[in-house]
């Protein structure tokens, strides 16, 4: 369940970052007053928010034992009884 949340957060974060990048790139390629203001406010706001979402996803992921260990995650989801590594 937590793994799904993490994946969703990363997905939303990636889409938001693409949007922010589009705004910032548009203001660089076509520097009009409104575009510049939008890029420096909305664009960077979305970018910061998406980075925060990604960091939140990483924290959630680490709290859940880390989905980086795919075999362990798969085993856990399948209910095979594999235990997460003990905290050191």
């Amino acid at each position: 369940m937590r793994h799904e949340h993490v994946k969703k957060l990363v997905f939303v974060s990636a889409i938001a970052t693409l949007l922010a990048l589009a705004l910032m790139a548009a203001s660089i390629l076509s520097p009009k007053p409104i575009l510049l203001v939008l890029a420096m406010s909305v664009g960077q706001g979305i970018g910061t928010l998406s980075l925060a979402l990604y960091l939140l996803a990483i924290v959630l992921d680490l709290q859940g034992g880390g989905v980086g260990d795919n075999a362990l995650e798969a085993a856990r989801e399948a209910g095979s009884g594999a235990k997460p590594p003990a905290a050191t």
Partner: protein, 237 residues
């Protein structure tokens, strides 16, 4: 190689870096969205690049390039209301004060900012805040006006409105006005003293301002066209 040779300024270099970082970041994100790989260590590090490091670089370099561009005459002229001003300063035959100064190769490309920016300690910040106010007025009051802003409210003279509203004292206003000219004109050059001998002390003490006499600054401005004064007076009534 030729594209590297065509980079002539720090601003262009920053723009190139920003676009390259944006492209790299977008490539990583599109790869992730299309392939949806498991969130292993490599994916996390790549996403940290694509979601964190590279966009931060885009924002930093883009901001600097953006701020640099906002100093340019081209940027000020991108609002149609500024059309008459920009055409006048770009006219090689114009003898207006703004046009003469805009032909100076040292700052001609940034002549609007050079003369209109506040020059105090936080001048750059207050100037940008004023610019945001201009953008607000542009969107709310000048968006549907004629090709040169005809039909919109008259453009107030630089800082004069602050003086009229009592936000600036006469002394502070004079100091600001002469401070703009004083960026280059020290009032101590021999030719200047020769021509201005009678007023030199008054100008230096800000009792008299340069534009009292040198007042053909923007002669083609909307507010100075025939009939504009009458229209402004009628609007006041």
């Amino acid at each position: 190689m030729s594209s590297i040779n065509s980079i002539n300024s720090i601003e262009e270099l920053l723009k190139l870096v920003a676009i390259a970082c944006a492209a790299a970041s977008a490539a990583i994100l599109v790869w992730y969205l299309v392939r949806r790989p498991p969130l292993g260590r490599v994916t996390k590090v790549l996403l940290l690049l694509g979601l964190g490091l590279l966009p931060v670089l885009v924002a930093l370099t883009g901001n600097i390039a953006g701020y640099e561009f906002t100093l340019s005459r081209e940027f000020c002229g991108s609002c149609h209301v500024m059309g008459p001003y920009i055409r006048d300063v770009a006219d090689p035959k114009s003898q207006s004060l703004a046009a003469i100064h805009s032909r100076n190769h040292k700052f001609g490309d940034q002549s609007c900012y050079t003369c209109h920016a506040d020059y105090e300690m936080f001048g750059a910040i207050t100037t940008k805040l004023t610019g945001l106010k201009h953008l607000y007025y542009y969107v709310t009051e000048y968006a549907g006006t004629g090709p040169d802003g005809e039909g919109g409210p008259p453009i107030k003279l630089y800082k004069r409105q602050d003086l009229e509203k009592g936000k600036l004292t006469q002394e502070a206003f004079n100091k600001r006005m002469n401070g703009v000219c004083g960026q280059c004109h020290s009032t101590y050059a021999a030719t200047w003293v020769e021509k201005h001998g009678a007023f030199a002390d008054d100008v230096r003490s800000n009792a008299q301002i340069c534009i009292d006499c040198h007042n053909e600054i923007h002669p083609t401005a909307l507010s100075r066209r025939p009939g504009a004064q009458k229209a402004a007076a009628e609007e006041k009534k």
